[in-house]
Amino acid sequence: MADGEGQGTVDGFIELDGVEKVFDVRRKAGFLRRERHRVRAVDGISFRVPRGEMVGYIGPNGAGKSTTIKMLTGILVPSGGRLRVAGIDPARDRTRLARRIGVVFGQRTTLWWDLPLRDSYGLVRRMYRIPDARYRANLERCVELLDLGDLLDVPVRQLSLGQRMRGDIAAALLHDPEVLYLDEPTIGLDVVSKAKVREFLRDVNAERGTTVLLTTHDLTDIEQLCKRVMVIDHGRLVYDGGLDGLHAVGGSERVLVIDLERELPPITDVPGARPVKVEGPRQWLAFAATQSAAPIVAAVAARHPLVDLSVREPDIEEVIAKMYADRKAL
């Protein structure tokens, strides 16, 4: 414990030391009989995030990502361990911390359904007592970067999922939070909205130095945004480091899906890529995820009649499964 405190003061803006969350779950087991059992949603996690870092927090469904965020925001009280955000114990000082953090839950909007988007922002302004000039500058910036100009006077119920998510992200940033938590911000979004959200987060992190922690199971989010990624599975941190390292550890592969003009034998003449599947004129080429796709695409295009192509990111479940397999093999 003593040395944990010592480390904590050095650089941790967000600090977790052996944090646990255990849920007592009661389940119906037949008529009137209830079975109690414990779910270790977060099972002894420790990490530190310095101010201004952008970190991806990834893992399969049920891994404990949302539970971690709920503890970081003070919604849930940890069952064990020590947790600090900006030196504050979130569960004890939830309301005080709330002024300094922004939270976006992917599936839960905080916008007002029947009112124009603008009204939701007005409420945030008054609830957080944001000074007028600050508010106007922040709103202007969000509107521009998230392309909300035409949406401000539209009732929220008429917005698409992607527009609403952009609206929600702006709402979480109007009070200049020092740290922004996003739980699955890109889930279910269209390509355009996804791109806008990513670009905006990158900008917020770079320009304002906002610390960002986002959970996702879309590896592309991480790839485009985060230098550092933490992988959680069954409540435990199984990886903490760069994305390249993750791919190296996981030995994961991306897949290039190409549509050719006509049916051809499997393409074997592209270095670094190997055919994994052929279906008529469509072929699947696997290559190491640590490698750039550009030279492979160029090589294919140079040698074969290419019509269309897309790149499939490695599936997070697959990467983690491979990590486990490799660990066992060691």
Partner: protein, 278 residues
């Protein structure tokens, strides 16, 4: 720190501020469907008004009910309706806590820098509930005009004190009921028994009920302090339990105790909140 009186006052002030803000948002949301709002408000008014018409009709067959005349019963009815109507207008929609706990949307309230109680109290604020208050106030006005009692400065003061204390007691019941929903999300029926059931009872003179029931309503759930005890003093009648005279003035004190208990229940409930799995 947070328990220092200044801290408590500041938090209360913040709560009221936030409550006002959120209520404003709901009122504006309601106005997005203006016609349906007007219909609902009128319906609300008509339904509660018809309720009293039922009692008035009873009096065409009898001159007194449990020894009380029509204006006297109307005083009981008007005071309960007004008190309950005020509490119901301000906090009546709090029973959505259960739903928010079940579907996990409570999470979004917990990350705001204002008291959760204020946010929940203002949740889905329904202006149409003005219907009940206006009925209560109108009836009360009529009663005061018709009522044949000797007003003294004391009884004149007792009237607003009774209305406010009554509203606060009902409000405390709403808060306690909402707090209980953190544990049992479908507990709103129990709460309704106290609030809606309680008002129905308080609209009649205590003399029409069994003494045991009146005793329960006085001591166990202190609803008798909403209007029965002070109203009996105004009407110059003895209460059926034969309690000492000062009890008629105890309503504000009872209201304060109810608030403290409801506040403790709320904090305990909130502490036990455990969100939901995704």
């Amino acid at each position: 720190m947070a328990d220092a009186p200044a801290g408590v006052l500041r938090r209360a002030g913040e709560g009221v501020h936030a409550y006002g803000l959120i209520v404003g948002m709901w009122v504006r949301s309601t106005m997005a469907y203006r016609t349906s709002f007007v219909m609902m408000a009128l319906g609300n008014f008509a339904a509660t008004a018809l309720d009293f018409v039922g009692i008035a009709i009873m009096f065409t067959h009898t001159d007194t009910l449990g020894g009380f005349t029509l204006p006297e019963v109307a005083l009981l009815y008007g005071t309960t309706s007004t008190s309950f109507g005020l509490a119901d207008l301000a906090l009546g929609t709090m029973d959505r806590v259960g739903r928010r706990v079940r579907d996990g949307t409570m999470d979004t309230l917990l990350v705001r820098p204002v008291p959760v109680l204020a946010q929940v109290a203002a949740d889905r604020f329904a202006l149409r509930r003005l219907g009940r208050v206006s009925q209560g106030v109108l009836l009360l006005a009529w009663t005061l005009y018709r009522l044949d009692v000797h007003w003294t400065p004391v009884t004149l003061l007792l009237l607003p004190l009774m209305l406010i204390s009554g509203a606060v007691i009902f409000g405390a019941v709403f808060v306690a009921g909402a707090a209980f929903q953190f544990r049992a999300q479908d507990a709103s029926e129990v709460q309704n028994a106290f609030t809606y059931g309680g008002t129905t009872m308080l609209q009649y003179p205590p003399t029409v009920f069994a003494t045991e029931l009146v005793r329960g309503v006085t001591f166990v759930v202190p609803l008798a302090f909403v209007n029965w005890l002070p109203a009996l003093r105004i009407l110059g009648r003895d209460d059926p339990l034969g309690l000492p005279g000062w009890v008629d003035f105890a309503s504000p004190l009872v209201a304060l105790v109810c608030c403290a208990l409801a506040g403790a229940a709320w904090r305990a409930g909130l502490r036990g909140y455990r969100s939901t799995g995704s």
